[in-house]
Each structure stands twice: as C-alpha cells, then as structure tokens.
Point group: D2
C-alpha cells in the first residue's frame, strides 16, 4: 500500500516508516511539523505523534479522503469529537495501546474470566526505573478485562521496556499468562496490522481490539 | 453429596477422599481390593486406580445406578467399549488428565489458535528425573490444542511434579502461557469438579474438557 | 549412620525418617511424646518438632553423648542457653531454615553483593494464601545477605509452598536468581546434610549455613 | 575521560559513543573507515567493529600511547599475536562478550560449581529466529563456568535479543539463575566499564572477566 506518516521524524514515526517498508509498503507522504514529502496519494495515514498534530493530520485525511490509524496518547474530549465526526466519512482506528500481544491477552482474560473465577490471582508488572505511574495503564487494562479487582505489584528497575504477569493459583496448580515487550517494534507492528485492516473497512470509529476481533 | 471411591487406599484415592471431605461431601462407599465400607447409597463413584478394578467399579455403579468419574490410565479398547455401554444408562466422565489448569490452557490455545498463527512458538516442559517419556503427554495435548506442530523441549530434573510453558514471540513481543502442578491435589480438585458436574447430567460419555466447557 | 528422630509422627518427622532411610541410614531411636523405639545407639539425633520437646531431646543426646540437628522454630532465649551449654560437649546445628537452596542463594548474594551494587534490584515472593506474614522471613534473610534495602512484593495465592525471585536490572540487561520449594522434602534433605556433616565435627554451636560453608 | 571510537558509524559504535556521552565522557577521536574527527588526545580507544580495522586501531593506540578496549569478534591468531605485542606497552581488554551480567553469572557458576554438584541442571537459551548457531556461544561459556556437561535447549523465536536460564533442581527445590539482554545497550555499558577500568591499569592483556574480578 501507499501510506502517509505524520511525525515521521520521531522515535515511533521512524520505526513505523521502517516497519511498513520492511513489509513492502511505500511511504508517499511524510509529515513532521510540515509536509516534507508528498509524492503520491496515500491509501491510509498513520499518526503516533502529539495531540497538536491532529488538526493537520485530519486535514490531510480529508484532502485525500483516506482512513486514519491514530496512536497518539493524551487526547482530549474535543479531539475525540473531531475524530468521531471524521469517522462518519472514513474509518478511524484509535487506541492507546497498539501492542498485538497485550490486546490478545486482554481478549483471552475477558473471554475466560468466568473460568478463572475460582482461582486466586495477582498481577506483577515490571518497567524501567524512569516510569513514574504505578500501576501501569496496561495493568489496569488487564484487570478490567478480567472483570475483578486484582492486587497489582509494580517493579521499577533498569531499562525494562515492559513486562506483565497475570498469575493464577489454586490449591494444586498455577497458571501464568505473561507478556513482554521486546522493543517499541511491537507497537509499529500493531500499527501495520491496523493500517492493513482499515483499508478493508467502511467508515466508522474503531479501536485496536476491533482489528484483532475480526481477524 | 454422598460419594464412593474405588482404590481409596492408594495415593490418589486417599487424596480424593480427603479433598471431597474438605468440601463437605460424605464418603459412604470405600472400596480397595474389596468393599470395605458401604454405609449408604453413593450419588457418584470415583475411580482413579487400576484398569483391573474397572469391572468391580462398574458393577457398583450398576448396583446403585449412579454416574462414574474415571481417572484410571492405560485403559484398553475393551474397557472403553464397556464404559460406553454403561454410559447409555448413566453419565461417565473419563479423562487421562483431570487438571483443571491444563484443560483450561488447552481450551484457550484451541480457541485462540488462529490469533497465534503469525507468532513463532515453542514449548518447554519440565518434569522430575524419573519421568521417562519425552515429550510429556500433556505437551502433545497442548500441541494438538494449538493445531500446529511445535518444537518441544523436555527437561528432566529433580522432583518437579510438572511444568509446561508455551512461549510465543514475534519481532517485538513475547507471550508465555505456563502451567505448574503444585502437587497431585490438582487432580483431586479436578475429580471433585467432575463429580459435582456429572450429578447434573443425563446419561452419556464425557471427557474432562466437557466438564469445563459447560461451566 | 544410625539416627534418632524426636517427633517422628509429625509431618516433618515422618518425612525425615523416610528421607534418611532412602539414603541407607537406619532409624534406631524413634520418639514422639515418649520413646517408642530404642533398638540401638544413635550417632545423631534430629528434632524438627516443638520447643516443648527440647528437654527430652537433650536428655537423649546426653544419654548417648551424640550431636543434635535442630529445626524446631519459635525457640525462646532459655532454649538457646541450654543448647549452647550442651554444645560445649557435642556439636549442635540449629537453624530456622534447612533449605539447601535458600541458604545457597543467600551465600551467593552475600559474596556478590558488591558486584550487584550498581544494579537496581527488587524481590518478589509468592506463598499460599494461608500464610499471613508479609514479607516472608526468607525474603528478609535474602535482603540481609545482599546488604542493602530491597523493595519486597508479597503475593499470597493458592497453595504455593514458597517461591522467591531476586530480580536485578540495569539499562541493558536483567539477572534473576530464583528459588522454589517443591515440597517440604527440601527441608528433610537439608536435615540429612546437616546430620552427615555434624558427625565429622567437634563440639560447638553451628547454623545450617556453616554446614554449607564447609562443603 | 576523553575517548576515541573506531567504527563509530556502525550499530555498536553509535551506541558506544552515545552511552559514553551519557556518562559525561568526551568523544575526541572518531574513526570509521578513516579518521573523521581528531580534536584532542584520547585517553583510551574503543573498537567493536571488524577485524580489518584492527591495524588502523592499533596504529592510533600507538600514536597516542593509550590503552585499547576491543570487542571485535572473529579475530584470527595473528590478530592475537599483534594484540599481545602491543599489550606489553599498554593495557588491552579483549573479549567476545562485554555483557556485565553474563560475565557475572559465569563467575557465580564457577565459584559455586562445587555447591551445585549434587543438583540436576539443564540450560535453556532463547534467541531470535535469525540466529543460526545452536547452542549459543554464551550457553557454552556458562557450561564451562559450571565445569560439567549440561543438556542445552535452544529456542529460536521472534526477535528475542538473548535469554539464558540455568535451571537446577533436586528432589525438594529448584534454583534458576537467568539472564536477559534487554538490548545491545548491555554491551555498550560493558565497554564503558572496561574503558574506565583500563585507565587504572599498567600494560598487560586482559579479558572482560578480569575487569569484573577486580571491581
């Protein structure tokens, strides 16, 4: 596919361009603070940058009449309103977590929450020492998926990108479901999956778990 | 419930009586090589002993017209034939693995096998050094659940009751689903679940995964 | 060796007799609330029972003039005084933790504490849901071995006999040193090691880490 | 310190410059295929590039009369000869593995190999699916440290940078010592440690484990 990236000079933007190219897709529109390459019509635009970029991003989506994959965090209410308006014309995939693995585990926990009702469960999450929030947003996401309150233990050590362990036990056995991010590459692969999926959709507002649901 | 146990002096039999009692059930029929206690009509009979005991077990089931939970291994074809005949009158739950956790993981792997198709996967199983077969039957069961061939690594060290790890990875992340038996108690709890479930069933031949499926 | 066990009917006592016999040692003195078997002179007496038994235990050690291996917990000051008096005549090994593995890990942490100074470190310990103290005594023991304050996370789930993970991380890598008790058998093997070691010692008061130190 | 890097445009070279700068050291000599920056006298030169670069590297070390930290792999016999000649004038630290953690674990295993003699042990190593050699060189290094033959299991999945688990077990307990590379950063930090250490040394030929030994 021909794709566009907003914020392509940032850490995630660079990685997204690289990852999409590895899968034989062509960057035809590259935007950072301004449009820097515009050599063809993109089929989809991907933005994992800052909320301030959203206006420019949406104007480009409208110009080309193409779908949007949005991984920008810290969106405000009015951003969501604008996104939902645009999603009447073109499909939008918005999520705060584009890791395929975490969304897959959340799906497993949600679907099997009843089976795990009789088990004790606690959660351990490990992140680098610079991460200040405890517990991680992902820990809360997994807790919600399981539909019960879990005791959550947060370790902050070294340079660990992110690890989550959901540990179940009864009298006679334990089950552990764990996820580890090797690198930010995980999120770039999630963006790729979303971009490929959104091409096949009609207008509408979707999250990353919708992408996985319909695989 | 009032229950009966065949082979109640053996390691598993002892544990089954103890576990059922902890859950307020009453042993009313205790059989080892012969009937040793028969103080009331059982509602269900449990047998985790030897294939040679099956004839006596079934004659007791017929005498009381009650269901059977059977965890005996190394059954032959003719045993299955007899069991299926009896299952026309009363429900039978037969399985080589009454661990709730392993059956739950198998169910998860089966249901999500499509989601894991794009991930690399290998399996590690660790058992005590006396276990001779490699890979474990459970490893094969998990592989079948995942519906693809997996490379399986078997460690045989110390007194480990049994541990299985299914490790998935793609470029950017890993997911591990692992199970550990703490002790044989796991299997006694599985027998309990099967016994409680079978009371609510009509005649028929069931496996332990049917028990879990309908929870 | 010929050995004696005080409290041989208890859970640990039974296991000690069984474990020592597996290693070709002979029980010649079996004591529970009273002396129940006394068929020969023991070379060592082992007691993992109650503080109240200590008086009888010591009188038997004096009678035969043999060393003592003591795993009884909750000893009071006066017990220690009596033990130290006796240790002038015969060697005594006393410890609250006869797990070879935990003592080995403590020794590793103590010896390498300087190497780990630049690493972040936190500890996770997992025990069965009935265990009320947090953190475990073993967690504190490991922290002391490392000679620095560690954040300790305590999980209480299911029937887990005991698991400790010391997790180190710097910017680029992690090291985990972990221990898991499979069963109480660990402690019986520790008692065996102490008993075999104490036979070679002169009088004196020793702990289990002395036993491991001189291997 | 003022430092020089040969091969500074490569993946490891870039990372080394960045890591040293984070620790307040100044790059004053940057060399790739030719000298590209030479603004001051370096106190040490670091080379993690190709064997072909060694000649230029050594000529620069001689020009400034400064020590060398060398992480280049696939060195031939004559390279070692030249290095040892140079090490009579200035100290050289040469190693195929500059991970602090792996060298630390090797040191632990070597020092405690006697304590582990009675334990069963096997090794599991997990690397990305592009890695072709099995078992990893590091697995062999750890086996040598332990001074006994170990069964080694090699998993090749996804993008895992490198994970090694040495799993010990006896009848009653398990001990696992494991290492995980988060990223190549581990090796850059090892180079930094070697560079800081080598400044304090007289002439001589050293390996990375010497660096750790004398901390």
């Amino acid at each position: 596919m021909n794709f566009g990236v907003v914020g392509y000079k940032g850490r995630m933007g660079t990685l997204i361009v690289q990852t999409f190219k590895e899968h034989k897709h062509n960057p035809v529109l590259l935007v950072d603070k301004e449009v820097l390459l515009e050599k063809d019509r993109p089929e989809v635009i991907v933005d994992f940058s800052q909320p301030e970029a959203l206006e420019l991003t949406l104007s480009l989506c409208e110009k080309y009449n193409v779908p949007l994959v949005l991984g920008t965090t810290a969106l405000a209410k009015n951003h969501f309103k604008t996104l939902k308006d645009f999603s009447k014309k073109q499909p939008v995939v918005q999520s705060y977590n584009f890791s395929i693995g975490i969304n897959l585990i959340a799906k497993i926990l949600a679907e099997f929450s009843k089976n795990f009702e009789e088990w004790d469960v606690e959660l351990v999450e490990i992140h680098h020492s610079q991460k200040k929030d405890k517990p991680s947003g992902t820990a809360i996401l997994l807790e919600k998926a399981l539909k019960r309150e879990i005791q959550k233990h947060s370790l902050r050590i070294g340079g660990i990108p992110g690890e989550h362990l959901v540990i179940f036990a009864n009298e006679g056995e334990t089950i552990t479901i764990s996820h580890r991010a090797i690198s930010r590459k995980a999120f770039a692969l999630g963006a790729l999956k979303a971009a490929e999926w959104v091409l096949t959709r009609k207008s509408g507002f979707y999250t990353f778990s919708d992408v996985l649901k319909e695989e």
